[in-house]
């Protein structure tokens, strides 16, 4: 996968990851905010409740002390003692309650109820405290937490004069500050710690319902406590229902990360798969294009470049590429001259399309050509093709029709391997020639049997592939009938016939590929055309020209021969020109008639042949002249320098032909 493709996968994955992480972060932060808000709200509520509970405690203690002071001031010390006794003891608020007489800055203990006050252990501090208690409605508080018994001292003074009574109560704190409030208490259900003073100093811990210090979330506030301050620390030990648990943001973050990872994984996999699929599609499309190019090239290469020609026949061909499908079919035609009189017409159709069909066609066509040229008759050619194609091995087969046209005798010998019947058109109309049909090439079945037909002088044979008669919506029998009817009215050349059939049968282009080759008998046979068929390789031969009975025609004939041999070495041309000059000299001097010179390649490979035909009779003298005799050396030169020479005397009409042959490439093996 290249870098661009890699990027095409990576960016959506990064995007998915970014979106996932953003959502996760947002949800986590929201949850965190909700948790914090919930916690804060809950803590604030607790603070308020603890604070309220505390506020109810102080006035209760203050009332008891104030009432006791009032009793002492208004009544008597003994009555104070009776009054105080109710508030002192194991089951009462105070551990001790004492009455002090304050005059100015001096304080004197008057009476004490309950335990011995611990304030007496600190006489100086105690007396200063008592003396400094102001006559206000604020409770004075003394820290006695460091004493043997953890206590708080509370004092009240009612009279504002220079002397008066101060009632001092010592309030025992629990020996251990960690306490549990009974149900029904104002503090029940609350998680908190109370510290005397404005800070949460551990040594000033009054009491707590949780182990302190705590790992739970806390909130802290202060509340007035008499003339002092109490610090309230509330903790969030257990969340009430409806409040988000504190790990919720982490759960959300973890879950979000997991989801993001999963999403990016899935996205990445889907994109990679899609890309692979796209790449495969592109590759497949390219492969198809290449295959189509190869098969088209192959097929075009296998079809003859131009319509073949043959003496005595008028030949027309047509190949129509199908309009459906992208691949070329395996249709082909061929015309193989065997000699001056016989031409083999072949038409075939390999099943399937594309490269395979074109390849099979490419093996069948030259094989048929080779078998035909070595003299095999049509049925034998078709039989031999079975070695080349096998439907089980190659997954395709071929229908082939092979016809040998004996032109001068007007005889057609044909065999067919599963191919549609050939059409014969002449002055009387058109008809299909019925053959014994063999199995298609490559399919086991009955062998093809050759049939022979004699045809009229104006006959034309049309062989074709089934694309001509098979069309959608039309039965094959209807197709054949239409083809026959279209051909029946035809007049003119086979080129026009083929054009007419194509126009009638596939007016809008063939859906399948189709190949047609037609050959019609003509009356004229041009000898040069005839000769050219046997030697299609030479550019300048065969060549033939008539010359008048004139001495200057000899030089003209020499130049004609030279131009017909211009592809050969000058040594060969010089000899040919010399010998040609001798023969034409003889024609002019002895026959006294015009003559015709024909230059061809010989039937003997590697030789050229020059013929000089005149209207003379008999055979020229061939004996070598004596040195003193002036003439008669022409044929001596011919005999000496030609590889072969001879005289043909016409049997029916006047005229003779003298010819010679030369090696075209002397010295080469």
């Amino acid at each position: 996968m290249d870098a661009r493709a890699d990027r095409r996968v990576r960016s959506p994955v990064v995007l998915a990851a970014a979106i996932g992480l953003t959502i996760t972060t947002a949800l986590s932060l929201t949850a965190w905010a909700l948790v914090v808000a919930g916690d804060n709200h809950f803590l604030a509520t607790q603070e308020r409740e603890v604070s309220l509970a505390l506020q109810t405690t102080v006035p209760a203690l203050q009332d008891q002390l104030s009432n006791a002071d009032n009793v002492a001031t208004e009544l008597s010390v003994s009555q104070f003692r009776d009054f105080a006794a109710a508030d002192v003891g194991a089951n009462a608020s105070f551990r001790s309650m004492s009455l002090w007489r304050v005059v100015g800055s001096s304080a004197t203990l008057v009476s004490n109820v309950g335990q011995r006050p611990e304030i007496l252990d600190e006489p100086q501090l105690g007396k200063e405290f008592i003396a400094s208690v102001p006559a206000t409605d604020t409770l004075s508080v003394l820290n006695l937490l460091d004493e043997p018994v953890r206590e708080l001292g509370f004092a009240v003074r009612l009279s504002a004069g220079p002397s008066g009574y101060v009632v001092f109560g010592e309030y025992a704190q629990p020996a251990h500050p960690h306490v549990r409030f009974p149900a029904g208490s104002n503090f029940a259900g609350l998680d908190f710690a109370l510290f005397l003073g404005p800070t949460a100093t551990p040594s000033a811990l009054l009491e707590s319902t949780i182990p302190f210090p705590t790992r739970h979330p806390t909130a802290q506030t202060t509340a007035p406590f008499g003339d002092q301050t109490v610090t309230i620390l509330v903790a969030l030990v257990s969340r009430p229902p409806g409040v988000l648990p504190s790990p919720a943001p982490w759960w959300i973050a973890g879950g979000g990360l997991l989801l993001t990872l999963l999403t990016t994984g899935v996205v990445s996999r889907l994109l990679t798969r899609r890309q692979l699929a796209e790449a495969t599609v592109v590759t497949t499309r390219a492969d198809l294009d290449i295959e189509r190019t190869i098969s088209t090239t192959l097929q075009r290469a296998l079809l003859p470049d131009e319509s073949p020609t043959f003496p005595g026949l008028d030949i027309a061909t047509r190949y129509v590429a199908g309009t459906t499908g992208v691949d070329v079919g395996g249709d082909w035609y061929d015309a193989i001259p065997l000699d001056l009189e016989r031409l083999v017409l072949v038409v075939g159709d390999v099943s399937g399309r594309g490269l395979r069909a074109a390849t099979v066609m490419g093996s069948l066509r030259p094989a048929i050509r080779a078998y035909a040229l070595q003299g095999d008759p049509p049925a034998a050619i078709l039989a031999k093709l079975d070695d080349l194609v096998n439907v089980e091995r190659d997954d395709c087969f071929a229908t082939v029709l092979c016809a040998v046209l004996d032109v001068p005798r007007r005889v057609i010998t044909m065999a067919t391997a599963g191919h549609p019947p050939p059409l014969l058109v002449d002055g009387t109309g058109a008809r299909f020639l019925r053959l014994t049909v063999g199995a298609p090439v490559g399919v086991r079945g009955p062998a093809a049997v050759a049939s022979t037909f004699s045809v009229a002088a104006d006959a034309a044979l049309v062989v074709y592939t089934d694309g001509l008669v098979e069309r959608r919506g039309v039965t094959i029998d209807e197709g054949f009938a239409q083809l026959r009817d279209s051909a029946a009215g035809a007049t003119g050349s086979v080129t026009e016939l083929v054009a007419r059939l194509a126009a009638a049968m596939v007016p809008d282009g063939a859906s399948d590929d189709l190949a047609i080759i037609a050959a019609g008998w003509t009356t004229e046979v041009d000898p040069v055309t005839l000769a050219r068929h046997l030697h299609p390789g030479a550019a300048t031969r065969p060549a033939s020209r008539s010359f008048p009975a004139d001495t200057h025609a000899v030089a003209a004939a020499r130049h004609f021969i030279q131009s017909a041999l211009e592809d050969l070495d000058s040594e060969v041309v010089e000899v040919a020109v010399l010998l040609g000059s001798e023969l034409t000299t003889n024609a002019v001097t002895h026959a006294g008639s015009g003559f015709r010179v024909t230059v061809t390649d010989s039937a003997v490979p590697g030789r050229i042949r020059v013929e000089v035909a005149d209207e003379g009779r008999g055979l020229p003298a061939r004996q070598a002249p004596r040195p003193s005799e002036p003439g008669g050396r022409g044929l001596q030169i011919v005999e000496s320098l030609a590889q072969a020479w001879g005289i043909t005397v016409g049997s029916r009409s006047a005229g003779r032909t003298v010819w010679f042959e030369l090696d075209a490439h002397p010295g080469s093996p």
């Binding site: 030089a555 020109v577 010399l578 000059s581 040195p627 050396r633």
Partner: protein, 117 residues
């Protein structure tokens, strides 16, 4: 191959020799031209050299004229003052395959033909 079917005959002297220089093609059409030109040359004391080095083509028609000339110039003692200059291989072959290479006195160049025998 030179001009089609044309032959030029120039008669001149080279020292002691009479030189007939032929240019062009010698065939059925031009043989008569050569024959007329040669018939005007008497068998005098000067040896005759026919220079064929500028002849591009020569066939049996030309041979026929040369054989006739040779017969006419034959001396009483059977010797003959005629020499031919033949340089083109194909023309030399024509003389060879007809056996005339042994009959005529052939030289490869004019200098060779005009030097002392």
């Amino acid at each position: 191959m030179g001009d089609a079917g044309t032959l030029t005959v120039d008669v001149g002297r080279a020292g002691d020799h009479t030189v007939v220089r032929l240019t062009g093609e010698v065939d059925l059409a031009t043989a008569s031209t050569l024959e007329e030109a040669l018939s005007e040359i008497e068998g005098d004391d000067h040896p005759l050299v026919i220079d064929l080095s500028a002849v591009s083509f020569l066939d049996s028609s030309g041979l026929s004229v040369l054989v006739k000339a040779r017969q006419r110039l034959e001396r009483a003692d059977g010797t003959n003052g005629l020499r031919l200059v033949v340089s083109r291989p194909i023309i030399r072959r024509v003389f060879e395959v007809t056996g005339l290479a042994d009959v005529f006195d052939l030289a490869a160049t004019l200098d060779e033909a005009t030097s002392a025998p």
